[in-house]
């Protein structure tokens, strides 16, 4: 990837004017119809009037930037073609993300090309111009700017932080309150208590041999999932030479993506975390020969042997182990710190000297602000980066309190819930239109480049705040000044020795710099602060857990149809939130999937009605609901997808996508509690079908019809580490079929490349980043809830998720499934029109323009990876700009499927032929492979003896799905190995 810098003539070339932008767009899309010329629609080609330097129409250029989809701050390469940012890719060199980019980052373009973003500032809900808005705001701030409160989500940008400080310094009583919609405040508070400094440690999973997570979904949504997933996966690959891997235990009430990937998963209600942690703390203290925390031990829900095994394992790996929890219970987090301290994990797997800034939310401050608001003592409320009222409970009293504030300003990009209350809405740029920076982890600073001129008349928060502080600079100037002063002088490498302009260029091109930072001074650990937790849970009450969904972590992404249609990695449900409930509890309550349940709190008036989803492996006393739904304005999706006679709207009239569960958040002890006990459930006699992409959820066949001896399908093969050590090929079905002898004469062999792929199922977490990468790369349409419900989603790449076993013994398997490019492809034989045939390079080609749509190929596909265009899928004008011009937009009535990004293969070959340098392994990166945070996907030439893919395919863990049928797929999978000693799970073998 050649990264290029846009910076040098920022004001000219990056500010590709709207006009130029349309010109560039027009190059491929403009149509002017002239009549009577013999050739209906006459196409005009509009060249640039003045061609910007370095821009070649039709060539994709990548710009280094930072994803600000969440506060994790992953590095990102923005692919820009013909003036349009089109494809987000991970930046391989980035110190945090290391090449991965999650679904949210991949989905940024659709957020950019969104008709519903505000196009100009609003004054009292009416469109206004910036001058009048600025004038009114500065006047009002000057007149009653005594108590100014600025609420933001976590700010990782040093420049923005400085600007905020500068802005707030103008006022006598000004405070910056950091509010995270899903807060980790308790961790910070606990460290304040135990270590004297309020900070979020930087967890280093690269060195963690034993990971015990109490509910922390670190592979899905917790703090910095891409970074964690990459680090976690680095220790999950046993090889023949080194058959070791980390041991990962997850204790949780709901089923999280992380729990799905654990070696051992315990069902534990969040109100029992404290008890189990207390036991662990005592055991480990004993092992360490230290005094355990004070207090009594309550009965543990986990057996003594298992606890002792766990603590021995932890102690055995002391200094290289890690205990984490997402609990917002202060006591629990203190115990976690105690255990980690006793294990000596601080400075090894937990870095508090160079802490993380990825979650700075301070719940106590927010609680205080709410009180201030209710008492009417706030004179100005500014909110940026979060939908303040949407993400807080007690919505009505909060909004009425806010309506009394004299000046309310929102920086929202859309008219969200808070913006609808604001006097002024000063819309921020979209991430791809903004410049900025981020320091997610102390000392690692990256830059955010704008990749096109703002589509609307929006303005960055940076500019607005500094303008109101009396500084008329552009965001770019502010950023550059801040870097000149604060960042670049601290750069470690040789960069700082250069002139500013030079080092700035390097920084922009590279996208990030690493700073020399002084170690954070941290106080001595205070063991006395920690007490054992004895509070016993109440047995017959439900515990509600609110969580954020992978891929839709925040209400700000709720307007992104790609993310709405992204199946939840665990439940596979799209376009809705729901109440996850265990099968036992569902049976008692007499509900089945889709039956609406009313969830009520016993002590408060909060309640919510949502359809039930029966979730295997869920704790029987725990129900869970995703946050980030019920977002204002999502009724826009009512008519997304095809409209026809029997089609049902994605969103019913007067409703939104899902329901906002923030009302169920409990504020307790100055912390937002996402788990609360004292919940009662009532079945409401109503059914709201949920749209899931998977209807059957296990490799175990239905008991009453399973053929004896073949109750389990072996689509995903698994084994345990113990078995693997004994035999690296363990887990292969006993009846192995050797597919090297062929019935037919093989007269097709060629000497060119033979493309193949290998997917390491031990690395794959099921995070679904690849799915959106594929969708973005290949113009996969969004079909809407009803079509998903009818099992007609269009994703070329899906992630099959299988639950094996029940309850505590439940194992979850993920398997990315896409066209396997079979050598003996059943689909090809049956197509009458030669619309799907085999290429010389081993690809199974689908030729859309030749396809007549018999669907025979899809029927005959054993992997069911083919997708049919049932309708013309509508897209609005702006959304069409997110389309990849290198991939045909399919018409109604044709079949489509994974092409192994053949457009990238062709590009790679052409580039090689142009440069004269033959293709090397890794030169061509396909979309799913590129985005994968754990690099589970390897693609390459199977005829190249030294290629990574061939090495992977020759590993003993390699297997092919449905190998016994001799379809000869080009995609291999590496068997799942769970770090277990027992052989209880016989990885889908059958006699």
């Amino acid at each position: 990837m050649n990264k290029e810098t846009l910076q040098q003539n920022h004001t000219e070339s990056t500010q590709v004017s709207r006009r130029q932008f349309l010109e560039a767009a027009g190059f491929s899309v403009s149509l002017a119809v002239l009549s009577g010329c013999g050739r209906a629609p006459i196409q005009t080609a509009l060249p640039f009037a003045e061609q910007p330097v370095g821009v070649i129409p039709g060539v994709m250029r990548s710009y280094a930037s930072t994803c600000i989809g969440c506060s994790a701050g992953c590095g990102m390469l923005v692919g820009v073609r013909d003036g349009r940012p089109l494809k987000m890719e991970g930046m391989p060199e980035h110190p945090i993300s290391g090449g991965g980019l999650c679904a949210i980052g991949q989905a940024l373009p659709l957020g950019l090309y969104d008709n519903h973003r505000l196009k100009q500032p609003l004054k009292d809900g009416e469109p206004a111009d910036w001058e009048s808005v600025d004038k009114a705001i500065t006047e009002q701030l000057a007149s009653n700017g005594s108590a100014v409160r600025l609420v933001t989500s976590t700010v990782t940008s040093p420049t923005l932080q400085a600007t905020i400080d500068q802005f707030l310094n103008q006022f006598t009583d000004a405070r910056h309150i950091i509010f995270d919609s899903v807060s980790s405040s308790a961790i910070l508070d606990a460290h304040e208590k135990t270590h004297g400094t309020r900070l979020l440690p930087h967890y280093d999973l690269n060195h963690a041999e034993v990971i015990v997570s109490f509910g922390a979904d670190f592979l899905g949504t917790w703090i910095s999932p891409i970074e964690f997933a990459k680090a976690w996966s680095s220790r999950r690959v046993p090889t023949e030479e080194n058959p070791t891997m980390s041991y990962h235990v997850q204790l949780e009430g709901r089923v999280s993506l992380t729990g799905c990937n654990a070696d051992r998963r315990y069902r534990l209600s969040p109100d029992e975390y404290g008890i189990v942690l207390s036991h662990l703390a005592v055991e480990i203290s004993k092992l360490a020969g230290k005094t355990p925390p004070e207090g009594n031990l309550a009965a543990s829900p986990i057996s003594a042997e298992e606890l002792s095994d766990l603590s021995h394992r932890l102690w055995h790996a002391h200094g290289a182990s890690l205990v984490i929890s997402d609990s917002q219970d202060f006591e629990v987090q203190l115990l976690v710190n105690h255990i980690n301290h006793t294990l000596g994990n601080y400075t090894h797997t937990i870095d508090i000297e160079r802490p993380s800034y990825q979650c700075q939310g301070n719940d106590a401050e927010v609680v205080k602000l709410i009180e201030e608001l209710k008492s009417g003592s706030v004179s100005a409320l500014l909110v940026a980066g979060t939908d303040f009222t949407h993400n807080l409970p007690d919505h009505d009293s909060l909004t009425s309190a806010i309506s009394n504030v004299p000046l309310v300003i929102s920086f929202a990009q859309r008219e969200d819930d808070f913006a609808s209350l604001a006097h002024f809405v000063c819309p921020d740029h979209h991430a791809l239109e903004s410049c900025g920076d981020a320091e997610p982890i102390s000392g690692r600073v990256s830059l955010l480049q704008p990749t096109l001129a703002p589509l609307g008349n929006t303005r960055s928060v940076l500019e607005s705040l500094s303008l109101w502080s009396g500084n008329q600079s552009s965001a770019y100037e502010i950023l550059q000044a801040s870097w000149k002063e604060n960042i670049l002088p601290r750069v470690q490498s040789e960069v700082k020795s250069k002139s500013f302009v030079h080092s700035w260029d390097i920084a922009v091109q590279q996208g990030f710099v690493e700073l020399e930072t002084e170690a954070n001074s941290v106080g001595e650990f205070q063991p006395t602060a920690v007490k054992l937790v004895t509070k016993q849970p109440v047995e017959d009450e439900f515990v509600l857990t609110l969580y954020s969904k992978t891929g839709l972590t925040d209400s700000s992404h709720a307007h992104n149809p790609w993310l709405q249609e992204l199946p939840d990695p665990v439940t596979k449900i799209t376009w809705d939130n729901y109440v996850c409930i265990s099968p036992t509890a569902a049976k008692e309550l007499g509900v089945s999937d889709g039956d609406v349940i009313r969830v009520e709190t016993k002590d408060g008036p909060s309640e919510i009605e949502l359809p039930a989803l029966i979730q295997r492996g869920q704790h029987d006393r725990v129900i869970s609901i995703a946050l980030g739904y019920g977002v204002r304005g999502t009724d826009r999706f009512a008519n997304i997808g095809p409209q026809w006679l029997e089609g049902r709207p994605t969103v019913a009239a007067g409703e939104l996508v899902g329901k906002n569960a923030a009302s169920m958040i409990d504020i307790n002890g100055g912390l937002f509690q996402y788990s609360r006990a004292g919940i009662s459930l009532h079945a409401v006699k109503e059914n709201r079908p949920l749209a899931a992409t998977q209807e059957y959820h296990s490799l175990e066949l239905p008991k009453h019809i399973a053929p004896p001896g073949a109750e389990i399908r072996d689509a995903v093969q698994t084994t345990t580490l113990a078995e693997y050590k004994a035999n690296p090929e363990a887990g292969a079905p006993h009846m192995h079929h050797f597919s090297d002898k062929q019935l037919w004469a093989e007269d097709h062999t060629t000497s060119g490349p033979l493309w193949g792929m290998s997917i390491d199922l031990n690395k794959c977490t099921g995070c679904s980043a690849c799915l959106i990468a594929c969708q973005s790369e290949n113009n996969v349409p969004v079909v809407g809830k009803d079509e998903v419900y009818r099992q007609r989603e269009m994703h070329w790449l899906r992630i099959d998720r299988y639950f094996m076993g029940e309850d505590d013994d439940m194992e979850v398997l993920h398997q990315p499934m896409m066209c396997q490019h079979c050598g003996n492809a059943p689909c090809e034989t049956v197509c009458p029109a030669l619309a799907t045939v085999h290429s010389e390079e081993g690809l199974n080609e689908q030729v859309y323009n030749r396809c007549v749509g018999t669907r025979y190929c899809a029927n005959n596909c054993p992997y069911k990876v083919r997708r049919f265009n049932w309708f013309t899928y509508p897209q609005d004008d702006l959304q069409t700009l997110a389309l990849n011009p290198d991939v045909t937009v399919r018409t109604r009535g044709v079949m489509e499927k994974c092409s192994m990004c053949v457009q990238r293969i062709e590009d790679g070959k052409i580039a090689a032929s142009h440069s004269g340098i033959p293709l090397a392994d890794g030169d061509i990166q396909i979309a799913c492979q590129q985005s994968c945070p754990t690099q589970a996907i390897v693609f390459g030439d199977m005829n190249d003896q030294s290629s990574e893919v061939l090495k992977a395919l020759h590993k003993p863990r390699n297997f092919k799905v449905l190998d016994e049928f001799n379809f000869r797929p080009s995609v291999g999978y590496l068997r799942v190995v769970k770090n277990r000693d027992d052989n209880h799970h016989e990885g889908g073998t059958h006699e």
């Binding site: 004017s17 002017a32 060249p47 640039f48 859309y848 323009n849």
Partner: protein
């Protein structure tokens, strides 16, 4: 008698019908050669917004194709030159040489400064580039794109990459025909799939410019 005349009449009618049928078929067949199937636009010569002559530029002046269509070696699109590129020459060349010379001579004779002579066609260029009579930029008016009419248009599901073809030395003329002799550009080749495929086969079999090449006829080389 009546029978015989009847038979005679029938035979005459039959003969006339047969002749008519054959004549009709012949007309139809000859007409069909000029019929166009959809997407078959060989010989298409659209009127362009500016009467630009490839014969003059590429033929008489022997300018390299890639001077203007620089994308041909770097991108899938050969590209249409930006207006500013035209201005590189036409800042000075404002009309045909003869006319300019004539004005110079006339000015010389009349002992005055030569007037700015701008040809009708170039005026359109200057208008697009928002230059006034004196060829000075007009303030506040942004240069506009010239809406050239596309001559060679492949269907949306076909991807043709200029770079791939120029890299192995396929000459511009082998697809676009003798553009240097065309006043107005005409679609020279049929651009049908068979035309592409047969050239690919030929190249693989006989090589390109003496070098062996592998021009694949896999579907996904063009369709994806």
């Amino acid at each position: 008698m009546t029978d015989k005349t009847n038979i005679l009449r029938q035979r005459i009618i039959t003969v006339i019908l047969l002749v008519g049928l054959m004549f009709g078929a012949a007309t139809l067949l000859s007409g069909m050669t000029s019929w166009r199937l959809p997407d078959h636009e060989q010989g298409y010569v659209p009127q362009q917004p500016i009467n630009y002559s490839h014969r003059l530029h590429a033929g008489e002046l022997q300018m390299d194709c890639r001077f203007c269509h620089s994308g041909a070696e770097k991108s899938r699109h050969a590209g249409i030159p930006s207006t500013s590129l035209c201005m590189k020459c036409h800042k000075n060349v404002t009309s045909s040489f003869d006319v300019l010379q004539e004005e110079l001579n006339l000015a010389d004779e009349e002992k005055r400064k030569p007037n700015q002579v701008v040809s009708v066609e170039l005026r359109k260029l200057y208008d697009a580039f928002s230059l006034d009579e004196e060829l000075k930029p007009i303030d506040g008016v942004e240069p506009q794109s010239i809406p050239w009419v596309r001559v060679h248009d492949l269907p949306d599901y076909v991807y043709f990459d200029h770079q791939a073809h120029t890299a192995v030395g396929v000459s511009c003329q082998s697809c676009h025909g003798p553009v240097e002799s065309m006043q107005r550009v005409r679609q020279h080749s049929s651009l049908s799939m068979g035309w592409c495929v047969n050239c690919h086969r030929d190249a693989t079999e006989h090589g390109m410019n003496g070098q062996s090449v592998h021009a694949s006829t896999d579907c996904a080389v063009c369709h994806y």
